[in-house]
Symmetry: C2
Amino acid sequence: MRRPRAAIVVTGSELVRGERTDLNGPFYAREALLLGLQPVRIAIVGDDPDELEAALREGFEADVCLVSGGLGPTHDDRTIELVARVAGRDLHVDTALESEIEQTSRRFAERMRRPYADFSSGVRKQATLPEGAISLGIAGTAPGVVLDAGSCVVVVLPGPPGELQRLWPRAVASEPLQRVLADTTTPDRRVLRFYGASESVVAKALADAGGDGDGVEVTICARDFEIHVDLIVEPGAEARAASLEVAFVAPVADYLFGRDERSVQELVLELCRSCGLTLGTAESCTGGLVAGRLTSIAGSSDVFRGGLVAYDNDVKEAVLGVPANLIGAHGAVSAEVAAAMAQGARERLGVDVAVAVTGIAGPGGGTPEKPVGLVFFHVAGPTGEKSLRLELPGDREVIRSRCTVAALHLVRRLLET
Amino acid sequence: MRRPRAAIVVTGSELVRGERTDLNGPFYAREALLLGLQPVRIAIVGDDPDELEAALREGFEADVCLVSGGLGPTHDDRTIELVARVAGRDLHVDTALESEIEQTSRRFAERMRRPYADFSSGVRKQATLPEGAISLGIAGTAPGVVLDAGSCVVVVLPGPPGELQRLWPRAVASEPLQRVLADTTTPDRRVLRFYGASESVVAKALADAGGDGDGVEVTICARDFEIHVDLIVEPGAEARAASLEVAFVAPVADYLFGRDERSVQELVLELCRSCGLTLGTAESCTGGLVAGRLTSIAGSSDVFRGGLVAYDNDVKEAVLGVPANLIGAHGAVSAEVAAAMAQGARERLGVDVAVAVTGIAGPGGGTPEKPVGLVFFHVAGPTGEKSLRLELPGDREVIRSRCTVAALHLVRRLLET
């Protein structure tokens, strides 16, 4: 069965100039995929009308065209005018929409202490829609619009990602888009998460298991130093997917850590919570990033009590209680100091489990014996401990990020055993 | 003078599906802009050959077409084949390039303990180029290629951003691209960085000063809770740019913190360094992110000595020495506790300057008196202190990021006075 094709058109000068990273294209693409559409293209253009018109013309060749941006009150914002032109529709003022936008704008004018007259032409412009278009109501002062343009259903939403995401469910619920979706089936999605194996090893396991095809599409993606594998399963291919998954996972089962989208920091917090354990950190080269990851999760405070960033050796001694002679004998970047940092964090923070990281993030500070990228990890808990030595490639940012992920996976492995 | 137009074509299934955010399009766009080219479109397509061919055909209508991805060893990687087709060129094996890739692949095969024969067909494929193309050498195993396709100069680089960025300077230096650039003048760029003013206040100041135009293009961009303003100045418009800048900055001068691209963490570290001061942090709701930002800068260890993440009240008392009765009287989220955390960090970490953050990042934990988003900051140094209370909108992630930036700017303001 052929899936309906979705083309995405994003407009914004700062986006086409690379000054801001577009979030709307990837959002639209993921949502389209989940609805059973096939995203085929994301086109990012500026406010040049010729470029935008060309991108819309091409986009309208798909079954669904998802458009973002260019809905503001000024003359630079030409998306609606060009959508109407490409669809061969006249423009008209939607009076219900106009009074909706007027209300918001009057409140805004009051707050800014400016006369409403300054805004009225912009309001009229923002309430102008192509003939036959459906208004989805407004977020900010810009409306969301759905237009059935014949062979293509066009969705136009405002550029600010929060506004676009707020109006998106209304676009999905609209009659024209529901009509397209009625002919599609949402494919099933299975998720596998690996850590510690390279992308090529995982890809080889998949190829050896027979590879994708026959209704099972597999994506293998290295992300955040993990390997994320998704199986997109067409209706009818469930048995093929199940047997492929078994054969594929077998040789790399040691590296499999998840069958859902929970992050490693979520898994660590849940493992601690289920065992009634508190958690703390002692960081040198990661400089607080491990604690930052753990506390990014809402509700982490019932497990995570605190962390120590001991960048300077004096701080390692005074705050973490690492013996000065240990640092003298082995150096701050050593397995011995990592273990002492973890022990110190358990005592000083009064936590059950503590993980420590000490290493050389570079670009300076490396020696032939202890090169940039050398990192020691240690996790200590009430039932045991684990240590790890890694030599990581990459620049300072990459090394610090990899260390953060490695530290969290080390805690996970201790708690899973 | 018309600037040469640059079209960007990015290929990658995971990019068009929104599973990974494309970094190459924005990189190419920024670089093109700095060279004096005008980026007009970023097209992201998957590995469907029809879509990629259509995107290339459209891209070749620009003066320069910058392409990334699809250069791997397997049959899915069709960029070179399609570039040749659209340019009307035959394909041939570049033997010098082939032996270069072979060397890398033999080393890789050895490490993986697999016979080189497994790789040889991929090597041959990766060394196959359109007639007349210039090889830029390899990063990973994929080559960078420049092709003068008549009215369009085409640059093709590998998809991994590190590899693309490594080969880019060679593409810029190549004869065909230099020929295009010889006819352009690189516009001058002036940078202004604001903190504490909203985007609309800055935009109004610009409009009141006369706005852009007449050879001065101004972009105003809210990024990382700061407002970043760039003036792109065409040759001959320097005087207009200088007077615009003076008039524009005057009403918002209090918020101006930089005239170059240094980040606030770089400014803070440099201010400390120039005064011979050491620095530390005491964080609650930011959970290590302030320390993480500071230590992201290479060489920060000569200023930043350490940080304390005191998530739990017991840790605030035991490790930071915040009096229990202070927390009892005012609550952990209070100006008093923020001040005590900063003092505690100065003493316990033995640093000259310490900044403290305590607040409610949500989504839970808010009360009518102390809602989600309420945050207290305090910075204490040898010559004085500053405190700040903010009520921040947004979700947990936004609040934590805003707090991190606010804390760093508070340190900057103390050190600048």
